[in-house]
């Protein structure tokens, strides 16, 4: 029996948890003895075969920022992002796979080989980013049996370890992303109601505000720039993060700023910091309200607010949540570890569902009562040309087929019609997003569906979208008259550079890189 694990592949930190013999999740410390590992990579210039991951990468970063990578999660699925090191262009999936490889390697040392894993992703991650995350796992030599949303993983761990009943709001503000999820919990029975997320809001954005204050203060004092090169930027990004953490513990913090024009003492109070991050906090507030709106409930309907993610340590966030909900938010679980722990539980549940003979009886017994009902995290649609009700004209628009927050597994079918006589092909586009304007939705796949010739217009095309329990989407387009079917698969890029073959090929290539 292989070890079942859950991995929180975070923007700033990552963690790995395994299920013990009675189905309880536990964090596996890394080789340095730490329970969480910085999601940082450094390509050693001395020994190019060695890639440093974690705290060593953080320590080396200021010396040579050109060869270091942090916050790669924000680029996940971005086909334009490349990090060029010694003639090789590293993709976000490859870089992420190095972090996963380090976690796997360190875990194997104490716990034996891990194979089956579930990796967590932000609830708002789209199909491309989910697929990219799974590919990163496979490049690291892991068997990724599923993907779980971070707030769902946190809630799973929370519900299975604490006595919880009622409606819970999970406030997950991590290093780079922010999710709000509302769920109903009855002992170990968990029903996700809805999730909303902000992809560009997290701890690094707060750090950025402090960095701006550094620059502003330095300019005022010396009329000169503080961040003159990448080294200086890397150094002060780390200093800003450090200062932010201090301000969560103390009412004020100090730093020395050393620039080319001279050095100065920088002091900042918690109030000044809160003022600087106010627009970001407002964004977070709005996401809470929008989520409540989506769940059709009031703050008073929420029985518990659960905090997840390192950025929830910022005092103003806790204060504001208490003001909003009339009760202090729960910090019953470790905000840095609960996602990995919940992901391990999710891995156990997935294994039990898909391959029950492969699971130890002790683990199966431990997870027996846990029931999870998740929802679809995005709206999925296709591009079509209906008549506008007001103008009567045909307008190209995005028509939603599978609606966000539909309980999983789910399936939805709609019928569309060909537009012109003799139409022999149909460009099918799968979209993700709520907008009706096609320019604003994410087109996650586009393919040509070939149709039989010599037919009049208005031939029916049945479009079926489904979403499985592993948070993956499937689409089929069927020409009803001929029975022809087109199944759409998702992969990154138009050229299918991460096709099945590609992943296998790259996984073999990645094996040659040593991580420490």
């Amino acid at each position: 029996m292989s070890v079942i694990a859950g991995i929180d592949l975070g923007t700033t930190f990552s963690a790995l948890a395994i299920l013990n013999s009675i189905g309880k999740p536990q964090i596996v410390p890394n080789a340095e003895g730490e329970r969480i590992t910085p999601s940082a990579v450094f390509f050693d210039e001395e020994d190019t075969n060695v890639i440093r991951v974690g705290i060593e990468a953080i320590n080396s970063r200021q010396l040579n920022p050109e060869r270091s990578v942090r916050w790669i999660k924000r680029h996940m699925g971005d086909r334009k992002y490349k990090k060029s090191i010694d003639g090789k262009d590293w993709t976000p999936e490859e870089i992420s796979s190095l972090i996963l490889k380090k976690l796997k390697q360190d875990c194997s040392r104490d716990e034996g080989d891990i194979n089956d894993v579930v990796i967590s992703v932000p609830a708002h991650f789209d199909e491309v980013r989910r697929k990219a995350t799974m590919d990163a796992g496979r490049l690291a030599g892991l068997n990724v049996i599923g993907i779980v949303n971070e707030p769902v993983a946190a809630a799973l761990y929370y519900a299975t370890t604490c006595e919880v009943t009622g409606r819970v709001l999970v406030y997950d503000l991590g290093g780079g992303t922010f999710d709000v999820t509302i769920l109903d919990v009855q002992n170990k029975d968990i029903n996700i109601v809805c999730s909303q997320g902000d992809h560009a809001l997290g701890g690094i954005d707060f750090d950025q505000r402090i960095l701006e204050l550094f620059q502003q203060a330095y300019r005022e004092k010396f009329n000169a720039e503080l961040l003159v090169d990448d080294e200086a930027r890397a150094k002060y990004e780390d200093e800003a993060e450090d200062l932010k953490k201090t301000l969560s513990r103390r009412p004020s913090a100090k730093k020395m700023l050393y620039g080319e024009a001279g050095s100065m003492r920088f002091e900042i109070t918690r109030e000044q910091f809160e003022e600087a991050i106010a627009p970001l906090i407002t964004r977070a507030d709005m996401l809470v309200e929008v989520t409540l709106q989506e769940a059709k409930c009031n703050p008073s309907d929420i029985n518990k607010v659960l905090l997840v993610g390192g950025s929830t340590r910022i005092p103003t966030i806790r204060t504001r949540l208490e003001e909003k909900f009339g009760k202090a938010p729960e910090v019953a679980v470790n905000v840095d570890e609960c996602v990995a722990l919940g992901a391990a539980i999710h891995a156990g549940l997935t294994k039990m569902r898909e391959d029950p003979s492969e699971i130890d009886s002790g683990i199966a017994g431990g997870l027996r009562d846990v029931k999870l009902k998740d929802v679809c995290n995005h709206s999925y649609g296709t591009i079509c040309a209906p008549r506008d009700q007001e103008t009567g004209q045909y307008v190209v628009q995005n028509s939603i087929i599978l609606k966000k927050n539909t309980p999983l597994p789910c399936e939805s079918t709609q019928r569309f019609f060909t537009m012109v006589d003799g139409q022999t092909e149909l460009q099918v586009t799968i979209t993700q997003g709520e907008d009706t304007d096609p320019d604003y939705v994410n087109k996650i796949a586009t393919e040509i569906f070939e149709l039989p010739p010599d037919r009049p217009a208005n031939r029916p095309i049945k479009v079926t979208y489904s979403y499985d329990l592993n948070q993956r989407m499937h689409c089929t387009f069927q020409d009803e008259e001929s029975g022809r079917v087109l199944e759409v698969n998702f992969c990154i890029g138009e050229n299918g550079e991460m096709s099945e073959d590609n992943v296998a090929h790259k996984a073999a290539e990645m094996e040659s890189f040593k991580v420490e």
Partner: protein, 396 residues
């Protein structure tokens, strides 16, 4: 001289006659007589009555003929053809009556033309003693040049089926009250509306020193696109002429944009009203660097054109992204103002937040950047207008 005059008059009458009948293939007619001989003359008439059409009873024109049929030989196979004109403005200014259904159109134009097989005429001279129905056409299928009281002329011809040559021809005229807008009326109205849209767009392109070249380029592009899709290529020059006139008027400050908007709103279709606001937005966007005065004017133009507020905001947000604004005008970009109740502002801002938050992960960097700035603006607006609401909700 008198003889010459008489010949000229006769020649003119003959030419008009040829023009109306569309052929010189008439056989010589007998002198017009009355009484029993009248029944031998080839004649037609139009009865107005209810007819069956697509399973319902609708008002229609029933075309009938009777009289003597002269054909080149016995058993000559024939067709009968009906065409129609509007001769209200005189025989010389006849306009065709159009059909909206292809089966009653001429081969190369939408002009009304009905052709029916008449069968074989048994002898060289045969007589249809009674009125025979050639065809029934629903009134709604025919389109007339103008609205109101019209004088219509139907021309009926007997054609040799073997070679299509006209053997006989007759015509009838009658008054008709057309309640629908005529096709010339529509074209004129369309041209008027289009002209006003051009004027409005030029007004939007005006800057202190004259018309913006980038703005005018957008208008020319719009005209070019219209010319390409226009059925009547003759419109090409008038559109450019309107543009020149509009520029002159705008330069002389002799253009009432509000009146033009009102007129467009009254005369234009909803599609044209949206076309107008889209063009104006494009013209303003071409120069960029939009100021408060322009956003106020655009809001007013949209109101006068009776454009739905939410749709206008969506159009404006798309055409004039936040980076084109000199000042980030919260009222214009987010559709809120200080007079709105705090709760409504909060609702609107939450809607806008949801919309732009969904765009912040868009693959296009321009949209991502715009979304990020819009989210910043929304947060700013919220802090300014509804920040107290965070606690109020808690209390509620």
């Amino acid at each position: 001289m008198l003889e010459v005059g008489v010949v000229v008059v006769l020649a003119v009458i003959w030419l008009v006659y040829l023009r109306l009948t569309g052929s010189g293939m008439l056989i010589p007619r007998r002198r017009s007589t009355s009484g029993p001989l009248d029944r031998e003359r080839f004649m037609c008439k139009i009865d107005r009555s209810q007819i069956d059409f697509n399973g319902s009873r609708v008002p229609g024109f029933v075309i009938k003929m009777r009289g003597q049929l002269r054909v080149p030989h016995n058993n000559c196979d024939t067709d009968v053809q009906a065409v129609a004109f509007d001769i209200t403005e005189g025989q010389n200014n006849a306009h065709p009556v159009l059909s909206i259904l292809p089966q009653w159109q001429m081969e190369d134009s939408p002009a009304f033309c009905l052709v029916a097989h008449n069968g074989k005429v048994p002898r060289k001279v045969s007589i249809l003693a009674n009125w025979v129905t050639i065809g029934s056409i629903p009134c709604s299928v025919l389109k007339f040049p103008r609205t109101g009281q019209r004088q219509l002329k139907f021309v009926i011809s007997l054609l040799n089926r073997s070679n299509g040559k006209e053997l006989l021809c007759t015509a009838t005229t009658f008054p008709y009250d057309n309640r629908e807008a005529g096709y010339i009326d529509l074209r004129e109205s369309f041209q008027k509306v289009e002209g006003m849209i051009i004027h409005l767009a030029v007004a939007a392109a005006m800057e202190e020193e004259g018309a913006s070249e980038k703005g005018l380029a957008v208008i020319r592009e719009w005209i070019e696109a219209k010319d390409k899709t226009s059925e009547n290529q003759d419109n090409q020059n008038p559109r450019l002429a309107v543009l020149e006139k509009a520029i002159q008027k705008a330069m002389q400050d002799d253009f009432d944009a509000e009146a033009a908007c009102r007129s467009i709103a009254e005369n234009a279709s909803i599609v044209d009203r949206y076309n107008a606001i889209r063009l104006v937005l494009r013209v303003v966007a071409a120069e960029g660097n939009i100021d408060r005065e322009q956003t106020d004017q655009l809001t007013l133009v949209a109101e006068l054109l009776r454009i739905d507020k939410d749709k206008f905001r969506a159009l404006a947000q798309k055409s004039l992204p936040i980076n084109t604004h000199r000042i980030e005008d919260i009222r214009f970009l987010l559709g809120i103002n200080e007079t709105m109740p705090s709760e409504e502002i909060r609702r609107r801002l939450n809607d806008e937040y949801q919309k732009w938050n969904g765009r912040v992960t868009h693959p296009d960097i321009e949209i991502r950047t715009q979304a990020d700035r819009m989210l910043g603006l929304i947060a700013e607006a919220r802090n300014r207008f509804v920040e107290q609401g965070w606690k109020v909700t808690a209390a509620s």
